[in-house]
Subunit: 249 residues, 2 copies
DNA sequence: CGGCTTTCTGCGTTTTTGTGCAGTAATTTA
DNA sequence: TAAATTACTGCACAAAAACGCAGAAAGCCG
């Protein structure tokens, strides 16, 4: 088993179960605990997991601990959310994934807006529920504790029954070559279904996610209609995407 | 259980109940009181809780003054929750409605418990998600903002596909003549479906709901297997229900 | 192709960390 | 003030981490 492969597996396990033990990983993959420890350390340095004595935890596990950095990217997300909201009008059926950017958008929805929001993300649903004029449809199925969304065949089947006007995807990684990618298999399946069920696909991504990629592909750039970042549309970083036929906001 | 994990659990408990006892935490998590004390100390040093003799308090507690009757009915619900939890064992499929009593039960589930919980109540789902060993299945459909649960034909159809071991119903009103009743049409439909899909039906009701009724019937007393209140089972108020063949706890 | 470097992995040893226990001091409660 | 809880201290033991090292594998290059 290759190092990269191993780390991808570890990351997946962490995101799935919220925690991993060095000892159990070691026996699962058949490498020494030393190697596991080194992998965990690398992943921790990249900020993908939180290393603790005995194993590692997923980032979402200890939500509380996101200091100064959070406020900074909060503002970025507000800019993105504003642009996204400008695409919504009354009466629309809107499909959304989860993720902090989507949550920010949900919070900023204008109170007069009348629309139907469909999502499997618990966090997003909670936000939508606060709004007076929004109909909320919850996609049900097994809940993934790490990503706090519903996942599974039922959820996907349900999404496939829908014909939404527009779909907002919180984007974990996007680049020219691989399109949009993610690191959780089940989340990927869900997003794929969402793309199939929507007339227009909007990707919300903060700039640091641009030109990065993750192990699993959701879809190529050709699936995307609109890309929203906190940068001005004419930023050179975004030029390749505009050239690929995507509307950049 | 990892140290960080344990501390996260403790913190969650503190924020939930506003206080924790070292002794009860120790037996819940199965570590020595010494370890708990050291955890509390660390959390206190980080300013996340207030350590006191015998346990710890939440920060918010020191400020807010709870009206006595809130605490009182909180305690009633805790008694009910405890009795209800005694009916649950590992591996069970458990269907639950919403309501504050159910929420209290969800909060008090022992961390070692491995079971599958199925619900359409957003609040309950959020609680279940915090527990390390519980599988959570979310019933999806349109969300009723007033009751904060999913309602509708899809939700009912989904429930009908389930064969649960036990079903816990938060009860709004119960009396000898009308059985269990409620005042929300859609909630009633859902609870009816839940009753049909479960082997054993448990009603959780605080004493003040006993011998009251609401406009819409969910089901007669014959549908109920177990009735749980905060009163001792031999309380005369409950005698008619025991006579009707219901196990009263 | 052969030699060189670099990277990766596993092993043994030393440190550090986490946990429980016993005895004692401090505190609550009656 | 006495009895009972709870807190603290030092210690012992186990588990995990860190460190240095050596062999294996992969990549590079003339």
């Amino acid at each position: 088993m290759l190092k990269k492969e191993r780390q991808a597996y570890i990351l997946h396990q962490v995101n799935l179960h919220n925690k991993v033990l060095s000892s159990s990983l070691s026996s699962e993959i058949n490498v020494s605990e030393d190697t596991i420890r080194r992998d965990l350390q690398e992943l921790a340095e990249e900020g993908k997991i939180i290393k603790v004595h005995g194993g590692a935890l997923s980032h979402s596990f200890s939500q509380v601990h996101f200091p100064a950095d959070v406020v900074y990217s909060q503002n970025q997300k507000k800019i993105i959310a504003e642009k996204a909201i400008s695409l919504i009008s009354n009466g629309m059926f809107i499909l959304t994934s989860g993720g902090t950017t989507i949550l920010e958008m949900a919070r900023m929805l204008p109170p007069q807006l009348k629309a139907t929001f469909i999502s499997g993300s618990i966090g997003a649903i909670l936000e939508y529920m606060h709004h007076p004029n929004i109909e909320v449809i919850l996609i049900g199925d097994k809940i993934s504790k790490s990503s706090k969304i519903t996942v599974g065949a039922e959820a996907i089947a349900k999404i496939k029954q829908i014909r939404a006007d527009i779909c907002f995807l919180g984007t974990n990684a996007i680049d020219i070559q691989h399109g949009i990618t993610d690191n959780d298999w089940e989340v990927v399946q869900l997003k794929k279904a969402m793309i199939e069920s929507s007339q227009k696909i909007v990707c919300l991504a903060i700039a640091e996610k641009i030109n990065t990629f993750q192990p699993i592909q959701i879809g190529g750039l050709d699936k995307i209609d609109i890309l929203i970042t906190e940068l001005p549309p004419e930023d050179p970083l975004l030029k390749p995407y505009a050239d690929a036929g995507i509307t950049v906001l």
